[in-house]
Assembly symmetry: C2
Homo-oligomer: 467 residues x 2
């Protein structure tokens, strides 16, 4: 009896509350008891139920009040659907690469090296020194700190042959990460609706940035030695494209490195076609049995626009990249960069420069080279033993990834899900293709946490493939 | 005799060098002496002249070699003109605001507060603490550090009246500065070629970001109390625009603050028109006789998208801004942000959060309020005394700027140039107008260096105006 009475009162009050403003005071227990012809205990039971449901709050000795909470009135954002319309440019679905995962899994999906491969001591002391300096309180120049510009130019200039003009500090624009550089380059050198050649497979972030700008991608197939110059030339001829995005050294995902001859052939084509080569030297610091030899160092005609990030090799928190461009293209890129981000934090620039100019940075890079090599070989050996049907087209001479082709009848969605059920996270290869994938691929990053678990991961991958 | 002989040899060698590859060895001194029928001293004099001019380098005991230098062959970047074509969207000319100037001038042009107005001690200790923490070595989540998201939400929620749902941490996206936010918002909520209402005058960086995206700007005149709601409604009706960019608190440049009634009227219009209000709360921390009261706090229907930067009040090196958006708009904004910048440095986010959660931050803001007030009044008094023809439409209740109307016959280019010749840098007002300026304006920033020189600056401005 009492229960149903209190239910009845609670129901009536719920209706009252739904139209009352937040903070409104409910009638007193005595008044409610009179109104609903019930005892004070029954009324208080009803109020407690409403309080538990979060509809009211009671302040002892004062009374009960309507609470302002989200659940009372779910907002209707339907009007936004009309205001937003369809997106101008469809974005590809999100990839697994940026996922954060719990500690008890074997994570082979990430895009960033694990902390133990970073120059932790250098980064911490650089940030501490930066905290004491001027850059932490001042605005940096639009194109970057001059000393950091000079460093990027000098690094690239190391590869410039005699007889060619090496890049100067004034050719460099410092960016808040290379992703910002990709967006800017696709916007300024290509443009919405315009065609751009791109390796296939290639970096998913470039595919994403191109989608955002609305660039029309022209895929050029790329194998372990890079794309075929004839394919590139044909694609330029057929589409009238004026730009080609590529990673000539340790390409993500397949680790391809172009030979000097191939690089020369591509440079010749790009020049003949009056086109830009957008060179993404993402793995400059991740050579293993080879070193990155940027094409941009061999070009002083402004055809190669060069992008190098320090985020992956210095620290994911030091979002600093250098862009090298010559001629009027640089002016247009700088104008876009300014309107997009104004300037890059001088503190981050100073910290990055501090790290890479310490003698210990070279030592770190040498040790990193060895560690990446051991990790790579450990994962390759384990896969060869336990997952022989996962085919590695070539052993990458640098970079962070193995690119494996799985049997053609593999259901990739099911494969990644089953691996994950056994606590091994892998990245399905589809995200790295600008169009339909020509096969079933997975990318395994060997710079993640806990390489000791690589054999176990390979066993699980092998079992899932076999099952 | 000897001189002219060596000149003749140098001239001949110069011709030879101009076609020789870099690194090519010159004939020996003996061979040259024979060829030009001159003594070895004359030949060496010619070689020294060429070395001084940077055309050759001599290696003692080895010989002389053609140097590879830029001046030998200026690069021809003409091909880029064809490859780049006309820019898709014309950018406005660069403004004076970002100029760096020598120390011996009176700089009233800048957009950023001078270092002595920043919480220097807090920033340095926050960066030092950050250098010891985890964020300096890890990747931050795409939408930002959860604690910083929660802080931005709570700050905005302080102004939310009872009965409305306050924003949650999940509604916040952390950005690498508010300029990045403007680009993203104009791209996602408006789009290329689409109309957007904008106050006139307004922040030049917003005009720049809109130009980059190719947004069609619909100026709405704004006076000391903000724009007239009837004008806004008419502009929505005539153009079919679905967005309005505004700075309702301490607008840049004219310091306008909307009354609660006007804010309510604009909110009603925006809702009726099914449109977004893009609220740029750039001066949230720069109240003087009033405080910023964001409209976004009074809206839980997703119509107001809110942007607040910490860059100007914490430090120009801490490029961190918070964006608050609700409903599907937030998802589209986040997707664009990711494709543009991936994520914001966790170290900068942690440092920003450290600063604004110290008790001393509140103390700093109180002292800042007083200092800005004194600086503002000092400059106003000096201008009233020395430059009475520079008309201040209203005393701003917050912000960093005075917006002065000069006599209509003022030649603005000449005025700024003559001020500059007398070492006073002012910003011509034209940059703040999305279309033709309706009068001659200058913006004077009273948060720059050396307020003691304000009277002198006012005297010079008065003299230039009178002369």
């Amino acid at each position: 009896m009492t229960d149903s009475s209190s239910d009845r009162i609670a129901q009536a009050l719920r209706t009252w509350i739904s139209t009352a403003p937040a903070g409104a005071q409910l009638p007193s227990t005595r008044a409610l008891a009179a109104e609903y012809e019930a005892g004070p205990v029954t009324v208080q039971q009803a109020l407690r139920a409403l309080a538990v449901q979060g509809l009211i709050e009671t302040r002892p000795g004062v009374g009960a009040f309507v609470r302002s909470i989200r659940t009372v009135r779910p907002n209707d954002y339907g009007w936004q659907t009309a205001a937003l319309g369809s997106p101008e440019n469809r974005m590809p679905p999100p990839t697994a690469v940026l996922r954060t995962t719990p500690n008890d899994v074997i994570a082979l999906h990430s895009g960033y090296p694990v902390r133990e491969l970073l120059p932790e001591r250098l980064v911490r002391s650089a940030m501490t020194r930066t905290a004491r300096g001027d850059t932490v309180l001042t605005q940096a120049p639009a194109a970057g700190l001059p000393e950091l510009q000079a460093w990027f130019a000098a690094e690239l200039g190391e590869g410039t042959p005699a007889g060619l003009a090496a890049p100067g500090a004034g050719d460099v624009i410092v960016l808040p990460g290379s992703q910002a550089g990709l967006s800017t380059l696709f916007r300024t050198l290509v443009g919405t609706g315009q065609p751009m050649l791109i390796e296939s497979p290639t970096y998913w972030g470039a595919i994403l940035a191109a989608a955002q700008v609305g660039v029309r991608l022209i895929p050029v197939p790329s194998g372990p030695h890079g794309p075929d110059p004839d394919d590139i030339d044909r694609a330029f001829a057929q589409t009238g494209a004026r730009a080609f995005y590529a990673q000539p050294n340790f390409a993500n995902p397949n680790g391809a490195q172009w030979s000097p001859e191939r690089a020369g052939a591509v440079l010749d084509i790009v020049r003949e076609r009056g086109a830009f080569l957008i060179e993404d030297d993402w793995a400059h610091d991740f050579g293993i049995t080879s070193s990155s030899t940027p094409l941009a160092a061999r070009d002083d005609t402004g055809h190669v626009v060069y992008l190098r990030s320090l985020t992956k090799s210095v620290s994911p928190a030091i979002r600093v990249a250098g862009l090298v461009a010559r001629g009027p293209a640089r002016d247009r890129i700088l104008a876009d960069t300014q309107s997009q981000s104004m300037y890059v934090s001088g503190a981050l620039q100073a910290a990055a420069l501090d790290v890479v100019t310490q003698p210990a940075w070279r030592t770190h890079l040498r040790s990193l080279r060895q560690q990446l090599g051991s990790r790579r070989d450990l994962l390759i050996d384990a896969l060869r033993e336990h997952a022989p049907s996962a085919h590695l087209e070539s052993v990458p001479a640098g970079g962070l990834n193995l690119w494996l082709r799985l049997p053609d009848d593999t259901d990739l969605v099911r494969f990644t899900r089953e691996c994950e059920a056994q606590r091994v996270i892998v990245a399905a290869g589809d995200s790295w293709f600008p169009a339909e994938p020509p096969g079933r691929y997975v990318r395994l990053n060997y710079s993640g946490p806990n390489p000791g678990a690589f054999p176990e991961a390979a066993e699980i991958i092998g079992r899932v493939l076999a099952g």
